[in-house]
């Protein structure tokens, strides 16, 4: 403790170079707390009750379908020869892909110092966790004899045998369970200071107790912030390779097999880009109505929505490039099976799926080149839903077209989902929206402390932060 470095003095940029403020209307530190906590503190709003009703109905539907599946067996799904992987894997990949945007926002944008992430990272991380829960339903229930689900994990059993780690499906078990756990840890750590905010505001005994318990006695101490920020940085640094690996490993479930249309090296990056693309679609679908009904337009500004649109556009272009490259490689490979697989996708019995995918994933994001469209909330909301529709069709096309027509024409078939498939899928929306609505009602949906930290009022070198010298404006 002998030498003390002087505090860092940052020169403020000239006015013309200053970026638009992340929080509109110059809200102060306290006002940010008030606005965000108001969503939780006001009496249960009508829109919340109206949304909760269908969510709970669909959740019950999921419960009923799972019970039916377990009682009768996996034959209630449409999976049959030759398509033994049907909607279960499609929906699994779709949900887990959606989760990826949350981690991208919380981890990768943090490492890239994109300060605008602070307004949307909490809700996106929650989206990640709930989407991974919906995804996790499928591997658990698809195994047939569900009571042997624990055989997925290396737990000693009376047969004395172990999981087979040469299979990418085992890698998937580790990737997805690690992804879920680390996402929850990261989310919870981000919540600790905000739970302390809630603890100090809450008037009711039970709320005070619960928020106090989970905020672990946080007191805003700078000695604590020092370790906290380091741990946050490390978790962001760990989540970045994690999120890239999760969808890569999911893609290896396909790519490691020998089937035409699956056995390609482009799959890992292509799956990751598609995951981020669909995830940003879902972020937009959720945040556009939320910022209006929760009156958070000052914190989730139009600029935030625009930036999300730009990420969607970028990843949409990567996905479009991957579609093109797949077709090119199929032709260039000279393999008649590969060539047929792609011809069959576009012009075979599932042509509608392929062109729905191209329309929603390649054409739709091109609208985001235009500022007029990016700033029109109704259009962005509509397009964001199309993005998720398109990404569902992408997984459908990959899974079903390849399995339905692989090498030997005698083995060909046509896949039809059963009503149970459809209702189970609808049911996962019930799980997702029930969890998300509960999250909105009981936890701060925006990272209060992180938003405060990016305002000029929080900057000790800014006039609004009380600085006398240093600022030029």
């Amino acid at each position: 403790m002998s030498e003390h470095a002087p505090a860092i003095k940052l020169e403020a940029p000239p006015v013309e170079l200053e970026r638009p403020r992340l929080v509109s209307n110059n809200r102060g530190l306290g006002e940010i707390s008030d606005q965000i906590c108001d969503v939780i503190e006001r009496p249960t709003p009508l829109w919340w009750k109206i949304c909760m009703l269908p969510a709970l109905t669909l959740l019950s539907l999921l419960g009923a379908m799972v019970v039916y599946l377990v009682t009768v067996g996996v034959g209630v799904w449409g999976n049959q020869h030759p398509v033994m992987w049907g909607w279960a894997i499609i929906n699994f990949v779709w949900w887990i892909g959606i989760g990826h945007a949350g981690t991208l926002i919380s981890a990768i944008l943090f490492l890239l110092r994109q300060k605008w992430r602070t307004s949307i990272n909490r809700a996106s991380e929650a989206m990640t966790i709930f989407a991974v829960m919906c995804a996790g339903v499928y591997p658990l229930i698809h195994v047939g004899r569900i009571w042997y689900g624990w055989w997925l994990f290396p737990i000693p059993n009376s047969n004395g045998i172990w999981p087979q780690f040469r299979s990418p499906l085992m890698w998937d078990v580790f990737a997805v369970s690690t992804y879920f756990t680390v996402s929850v840890l990261f989310w919870y750590m981000g919540l600790i200071p905000d739970l302390a905010v809630m603890r100090d505001r809450c008037k009711k005994f039970f709320g005070k107790f619960a928020y106090g318990l989970f905020s672990l006695g946080w007191s805003g101490s700078n000695r604590h912030w020092r370790n906290y920020e380091k741990a946050y940085l490390i978790l962001a640094g760990l989540s970045t390779p994690l999120v890239l690996s999760v969808h890569s490993i999911v893609s290896l479930d396909f790519a490691v097999s020998q089937l035409p249309g699956w056995h390609t090296t482009i799959f890992p990056p292509y799956f990751v880009a598609g995951a981020v693309f669909s995830g940003f679609g879902m972020v937009l679908t959720l945040l556009i109505p939320l910022r209006s009904v929760c009156k958070l337009q000052d914190i989730i500004t139009v600029r935030h929505i625009e930036l999300c649109c730009k990420v969607t556009l970028t990843t949409g272009c990567i996905v479009g490039y991957a579609y093109f490259m797949e077709v090119f490689i199929a032709w260039y490979s000279g393999s008649s099976f590969e060539k047929y697989a792609f011809w069959n996708r576009a012009f075979g019995p599932y042509w509608w799926g392929y062109w729905a995918m191209i329309g929603c994933n390649v054409v739709v994001p091109q609208f985001f080149w235009f500022k007029k469209i990016r700033t029109n909330m109704w259009i962005v909301f509509f397009l964001s839903i199309l993005v998720n529709v398109g990404m569902w069709f992408e997984r459908f096309v990959i899974v079903v077209t390849t399995l339905a027509r692989e090498f030997i024409p005698a083995n060909w078939g046509y896949f039809n989902p059963s009503p149970v498939d459809i209702m189970t899928y609808l049911g996962t929306f019930g799980l997702f929206f029930t969890m998300f609505l509960l999250f909105l009602r009981f936890l701060p949906m925006i990272a209060i402390c992180e938003v405060k930290a990016v305002t000029p009022q929080a900057d000790p070198h800014h006039p609004l932060g009380g600085a006398e010298e240093g600022g030029h404006h």
Partner: protein
């Protein structure tokens, strides 16, 4: 029967620049048992308090190494030793096939290392804190800034310390009891 022993001097500030400036003065005066409480992590405050780098990284490192080793050793033992499954003449153990699960375990254990390391270094959870007895201190999560100097600090003297904080812009000073 509550004990009424003074614990610390609690000085409130309204602006981040004021608390940053005051923290530099408290640091230069040579106090050791003191802290700054802020609603958000303030950049430059570590330097203003004279704090070095955090040690959380070491916990992550140990966690990560443990995770990777666990993965590799576990897969080698399960699939090559305890119950070997010969498939197509492939080697019983290959680091390539074992890598993806080990990689995930590296991240999993590293993440637990980061969170647990952070909590351990901060001595959290700690639900009892004398500062929580002060009503004004509730504003620390809202929009106020506080400097806390403990009475156990060797440099502490009630009048001189209070003067130092007042002279550097504190708007309200009180004594918190243990």
């Amino acid at each position: 029967m509550a004990r009424t022993r003074p614990f610390a001097l609690l000085a409130e500030f309204e602006k981040p620049a004021h608390v940053m400036h005051a923290a530099e003065k408290v640091r230069d005066a040579g106090f050791t048992k003191w802290d700054v409480h802020t609603p958000y992590p303030m950049h430059g405050m570590d330097a203003a308090m004279g704090l070095g780098n955090s040690k959380v990284g070491w916990f992550t490192f140990v966690g990560g190494v443990t995770g990777y080793t666990t993965g590799m050793v576990m897969i080698w033992f399960l699939n090559a030793v305890d119950y070997a499954i010969p498939i197509g003449g492939k080697p019983m153990f290959s680091p390539y096939g074992a890598f993806p699960p080990s990689y995930e375990l590296t991240i999993l254990f590293g993440a637990f290392g980061a969170l647990i390391g952070m909590l351990f270094l901060n001595r959290l959870p700690k639900w009892h804190n004398p500062l929580f007895k002060s009503d004004r201190f509730k504003k620390v999560t809202h929009d106020r800034f506080f400097i806390v100097i403990e009475v156990d600090d060797p440099k502490y003297s009630e009048s001189a310390t209070r003067e130092l904080l007042e002279a550097n812009g504190s708007t309200h000073i009180e004594i918190v009891e243990d």
